[in-house]
């Protein structure tokens, strides 16, 4: 194959990677425009338009059959479209919420939006990867953008500190990840996920293989902040600008989990890893939930909550069944909506001038009556995070727990449900403080009383839309779940064909 033929194939595969290409391209344009028109207010909307166009594209290819593009580097079809939709919607919500928020922080840099776009492109590559190379490239593209976004507020030492911690630990874990890839390549002689099982059979070096799998899992576990690889999460989430934390905690997790699902589904035999994931799920859920109990700061509480939710998703993965994977996908979708919403609310309730890093939850006593739309939406998000019907958080938990029960892991689900009950305490406390605590009773609330909390109507609309989406996703849960399950069944039946 000469080079011109390769270019032709690349060109013809463009529709398979349309979103990634478009988002990257617009990211470059934003950087270039920013160089000439520094921090021009139209920059975020260029990014939003690109994401919106990509969302439209992905919706149109949602029904496509699974396939690959770019010489087998990335997957296309329904699964890829579903994952991309989660990522793109998270990105779009983040941009819309970040514009007024970063204006308030006086950090309305054009580069932020380019970074969001580049991170989104990286996530798309990661979430649809078909080879370990794509996994790695996507992961690093995403991570480097996130490191920079964390340290956005350069003058603030908390922000710098968290960015540096994130970078150091990220680099550390990448080492393990890369080593795992090397071992897997050594054991199977291939980087392409669906060919690994055959490669392993040919070489027979199982020890090498499973060692590689362990190191690879560690890399993933770091990205999804599973215990004990989670230590960076609270510090980073607390220090980063709030809307960007929302982005980090949802889109990056969704794509890392999607990639992990692809690895588990296409590359690994079901033996061995299920128990490892179950073990990690248990410690993740227990530690995440128990530590969230004693956090006075909402961002830090949400960080531990995000650790706990990674544990719930892992419960779905341990089932190693199409239903479990589909449940995890549904959960990631729901989690993206409710967590971006929750961080969005907190972004507009900041008064400490330090990205909400230091203000306590109690200082927001009775805030629901001053900002009813935000307060009521926060109620939706907290109830959904707890997992109460009629919100999508309930069906999400159901869809990840039920397959685990079917796979015989009742003890695991038992712990998961107990831990969900624990989580009710710290989630509902937010609702309690917002609506039932009077500011006169809390000394810290005095300062917050003077804060203006200017919230643009567009942001309120986005946050309320997130809250309503949770209701819609609950009502349509059967349809979404049926679709997601169909993806894996279709892929499995295609794989079993010679």
């Amino acid at each position: 194959m000469d080079l011109s033929e390769a270019y032709l194939t690349l060109w013809s595969d463009l529709d398979g990677v349309f979103s990634m290409a478009l988002v990257s391209l617009v990211g470059l344009i934003v950087v270039v425009v920013d160089a000439f028109r520094n921090d021009h207010p139209s920059l975020p909307w260029m990014g939003a338009a690109a994401l919106l166009a990509s969302i439209g594209w992905e919706l149109s290819v949602l029904g496509d059959a699974p396939g690959t593009a770019l010489f087998g580097a990335v997957r296309t079809g329904g699964f890829a479209a579903f994952v991309n939709l989660i990522i793109l919607v998270s990105g779009l919500l983040t941009i819309v919420l970040s514009v007024p928020y970063l204006d308030q922080l006086k950090r309305a840099y054009g580069e932020v939006y380019a970074l969001i776009l580049f991170a989104t492109a990286g996530m798309i590559m990661l979430g649809t990867a078909n080879t370990l190379i794509s996994v790695f490239v996507g992961l690093e593209t995403m991570s480097i953008c996130l490191y920079i976004m964390t340290g956005l507020v350069r003058e603030d030492e908390g922000s710098i500190e968290s960015a540096l911690k994130y970078f150091l630990l990220g680099a550390f874990s990448t080492g393990f990840f890369l080593y795992g890839i090397a071992l897997l390549y050594g054991a199977t002689g291939t980087m392409v996920l669906p060919e690994m099982a055959a490669g392993l059979e040919a070489s027979g070096s199982t020890l090498l293989f499973w060692g590689g799998v362990a190191l690879l899992l560690i890399g993933f576990m770091f990205k999804v902040s599973a215990v004990p690889f989670h230590m960076w999460t609270p510090d980073v989430y607390q220090g980063a600008p709030t809307t960007l934390t929302g982005y980090m905690s949802t889109a990056s997790k969704a794509s890392a989990f999607a990639s992990l699902i692809l690895v588990l589904f296409y590359a690994l035999p079901t033996e061995r890893w299920s128990l490892v994931l179950a073990f990690i799920a248990v410690v993740t859920m227990v530690l995440g939930n128990v530590l969230a109990l004693s956090q006075p700061n909402v961002k830090r509480m949400l960080a531990y909550s995000s650790v706990a939710h990674a544990g719930y998703v892992l419960v779905g993965l341990t089932a190693a069944s199409p239903a479990g994977y589909a449940g995890a996908l549904y959960y990631l979708l729901v989690y993206a909506v409710m967590n971006i919403g929750a961080f969005g609310v907190m972004a507009f309730l900041e008064w400490d001038g330090k990205e909400g890093r230091e203000q306590t939850l109690d200082s927001l006593a009775g805030i629901g009556f001053r900002r009813p739309a935000l307060g009521a939406s926060m109620g939706f998000f907290m109830f959904s995070l707890t997992g109460l019907p009629p919100l999508a958080g309930f069906t999400g938990k159901w869809f990840v727990f039920a397959p685990a029960v079917n796979a015989g892991l009742t003890w695991l689900v038992f712990i998961a449900v107990l831990m969900s009950a624990v989580s009710a305490y710290y989630y509902l406390r937010v609702v309690y403080v917002f609506w039932m605590l009077s500011p006169e009773d809390v000394p810290e609330a005095a300062e917050a009383q003077n804060a203006a909390f200017p919230v643009p109507a567009s942001s309120i609309a986005v946050i309320v839309a997130c809250a309503v989406t949770l209701l819609v996703l609950f009502v349509l849960s059967g349809n979404v779940m049926g679709f997601a399950e169909g993806l894996f069944e279709e892929a499995a039946s295609m794989a079993s064909m010679p």
Binding site: L164, K165, L168, L169, F172, S173, F176, L207, W210, G211, V213, A214, L215, L217, I218, M221, F222, V227, P228, F229, M231, W232, P234, D235, R272, W273, L275, V276, F279, I280, L287, V290, L291, A292, L293, S294, T395, W398, A402, V422, Y425, V475, L476, S477, G478, N479, G482
Partner: protein
């Protein structure tokens, strides 16, 4: 037009109405005064579905149409579909709900005029219609149950509509709590059927249920469903909430507590009639409970002075009649009586509402323009009425028509349906089911009592001489057209609705249209028992003659007695019947008995036993666990040192752990 689209519209229009009427004025208080807008919208979203149902009814091809909207959730064998079923039975029920409902919405525009909660009232009423349509159109028990609970909720909201009066709230609570007891049985029935059959769809339940389920399962399921029905349809032992439910506005009493919601128990039995027929023992229970309820409520009604209480007990009694029909396997007759009863009882309730409306004006006028002390005056008490017929001709005439209809005066609606019930009971006894004789006997006596107490209420209200203070100066006025027009509509149907169910003596039952429409032998959904022995034609005529005589006799007796003596005739009755009358007046002391045997022991037991248990044991455990978790959290927090080297160390430990588990676990 597409059936699925029509069903969507029929169901969703009332919901839209409820949302718009409920939410828009809630957020825009200025809208609350636009009664015209709210009333028009509220009525239209019921009237349009009525027209659509009528179209469906006309074009119905004879085969049930199932409209499956979407699967709400699926777990294991359980699949919850929002599926709706259009067949003869659901069409008839939908016509009643939207038709009578529409008329009552129209009436409410006049009745609720000037009330601060006008918008709230219409929002609840529309929500009720939505829930009720879910109930009658559902294609599986869970959706039916959603509707069942929905109407219960709306009933609660509307009974306690004037919630600032504590007794109204108490009545609402009572209705809700008593209904929950029945609902619990309903839930148990669903659990039982699901565990035995694996599906709650009507198609499966009715086609495979009979052969797949064991006799004892069917018995238990039908019994539990019947207990559920005794709650919603006010039968012994759970009827006690219905008389209190009259605390709500009168249109609510007419719509929910007479015409529609309280008949849902009958609908349930008719829908599941193939199953019920396979539980002969439980059928006997149903028939006997129905008969006892009928006669008990009828006797209580004789001794009541509150015009709405009379109608409330009359409703309980008539519902008992319908259960009698169901208990002798004549489900289609039960539905027939549901239909005719909807017309005349709604007419009676709306008529009483019209009376109360005008008596309230009398009270108001006396108090403010004549300075009378009206604190003891009760606008619902028949002892303060009399001769209203002179001032309210339309109300009086329609009330009289409906009274004759419910009494069973020949050729009016009630005559046909009631006579059919009595005949079916007789026929079932004739076919060797002795309990049906008892039911028939009780039915005959109840028919006499019904004619008596209904005529009593008419005569006391509309005839005789006025009994309110200063009758020469102050007198009531006829209600506005928005209220009298519905009365005439309902009165008209109280006259003609019976002709769709002409008895078997005429042309050998060929003209019993409702039987041909609903009955399973003619392809309908309502099953019926096979009866070998036929009642001879002469005996049938005799039974009809007996029924007519009973009705006319009862009416004549009450008419003459109360015209001659007025309210004083009650004292004569009391003197003659002695303590029996006291029992009637005291409503058989059901409330007192429940208070003593259930409510108080429960409260006392909770206070003495459960409260301390909750305080020390349950709360102790919960707080203990919470403190433990908080403590653990405090300790574990220290792991999060903030020092990046320690974080890296944790990762290394994790690496060792994962590799170890992966390779050697």
């Amino acid at each position: 037009m597409d059936v699925s689209l029509l069903v969507r519209l029929i169901l969703l229009l009332p919901l839209v109405g409820a949302l718009v009427n409920g939410l828009a004025p809630l957020f825009l208080p200025s809208l609350r005064q636009s009664e015209g807008l709210i009333g028009t919208l509220g009525t239209a979203v019921v009237a349009i579905p009525f027209a659509l149902t009528l179209y469906l009814f006309m074009t119905y091809g004879g085969d049930p149409v199932v409209v499956d909207f979407y699967t709400w959730m699926a777990a294991g064998d359980l699949s919850l579909d929002f599926a709706y079923r259009v067949d003869e039975l659901s069409l008839i029920m939908t016509l009643i709900v939207t038709g009578v409902g529409g008329v009552i919405h129209l009436y409410s525009v006049g009745y609720m005029h000037g009330d601060d909660g006008f918008w709230r009232f219409f929002a609840y009423l529309n929500l009720f219609i939505f829930a009720m349509l879910n109930l009658v159109l559902a294609n599986n028990l869970p959706v039916l149950f959603l509707g069942w609970e929905g109407v219960g909720l709306c009933s609660y909201l509307l009974i306690g509509f004037w919630y600032t009066d504590l007794s109204n709230s108490a009545a609402a609570n009572k209705a809700f709590i008593v209904n929950r007891i029945g609902d619990f049985a309903f839930l148990m029935a669903m659990f039982l059927l699901f565990s035995e059959l694996g599906s709650l769809d009507f198609d499966v339940l009715l086609n495979e249920g009979v052969s797949a389920l064991s006799a004892s399962t069917i018995n238990w399921a039908v019994l539990l469903l019947f207990i559920g029905a005794t709650g919603k349809s006010a039968q012994i032992p759970l009827f006690v909430w219905l008389p209190d439910a009259m605390a709500g506005p009168t249109p609510v009493s007419a719509l929910i507590h007479a015409a529609t919601m309280v008949t849902s128990g009958l609908y349930l039995l008719a829908r599941l009639s193939p199953l019920v027929l396979n539980a002969p023992v439980i059928m006997a229970v149903i028939a006997i409970v129905g008969a006892l309820t009928a006669i008990m409520a009828a006797t209580i009604a004789i001794a009541q002075y509150d015009i709405k209480k009379v109608l409330a007990y009359s409703t309980v009694s008539q519902l008992g009649y319908m259960f009698m029909a169901a208990g002798v396997g004549a489900f289609f007759v039960a539905i027939f009586h549901v239909l005719t009863h909807a017309f005349f009882k709604a007419c009676l309730f709306l008529g009483s509402g019209s009376v109360i409306h005008s008596m309230e004006h009398v009270e108001h006028e006396l108090e403010h323009e004549h300075g009378e002390d009206m604190s003891d005056f009760d606008p619902q008490d028949m002892r303060t009425m009399g001769n209203l017929g002179r001032f309210m001709p339309s109300t009086s005439a329609t009330y009289l028509i409906a009274t004759f209809a419910i009494s069973g005066i020949p050729l009016l609606a009630g005559f046909f349906s009631k006579d059919e019930i009595l005949f079916k009971a007789f026929e079932y006894g004739f076919n060797g089911h002795p309990y049906a004789w008892f039911v028939w006997g009780v039915g005959i006596i109840t028919a006499l009592l019904t004619a008596f107490y209904m005529t009593r209420s008419y005569v006391l209200t509309f005839r005789g001489s006025p009994r309110w203070p200063k009758p020469d100066v102050v007198h009531p006025h006829e209600s506005p057209t928005t209220m009298t027009a519905p009365l005439w509509i309902l009165a008209f149907f109280s006259v003609v609705a019976g002709f769709i169910g002409l008895p078997a003596v005429i042309a050998d039952g060929k003209w019993n249209l409702i039987h041909h429409y609903l009955g399973a032998p003619y392809g309908g959904p309502v099953a019926e028992p096979e009866l070998a022995a036929h009642v001879p034609l002469a005996l049938e005529w005799g039974l009809i003659a007996l029924g007519s005589l009973i009705a006319i006799g009862g009416v004549a007796w009450a008419w003459r007695s109360y015209s001659a003596h007025g309210v004083a005739y009650d004292d004569r009755l009391q003197a003659r019947l002695g303590s029996l009358y006291d029992w009637w007046q005291g409503k058989y002391y059901w409330d007192e008995a429940y208070d003593r045997t259930v409510v108080r022991p429960l409260l006392e037991g909770s206070r003495q036993g459960l409260w301390p248990f909750d305080d020390y044991v349950v709360d102790g455990a919960v707080n203990g666990v919470a403190r433990l978790a908080q403590g653990a959290s405090g300790v574990l927090r220290r792991l999060q040192t903030g020092v990046v080297q320690n974080y890296a160390l944790a990762i290394v430990l994790g690496v060792v752990l994962v590799i170890g588990l992966m390779l050697f676990g």
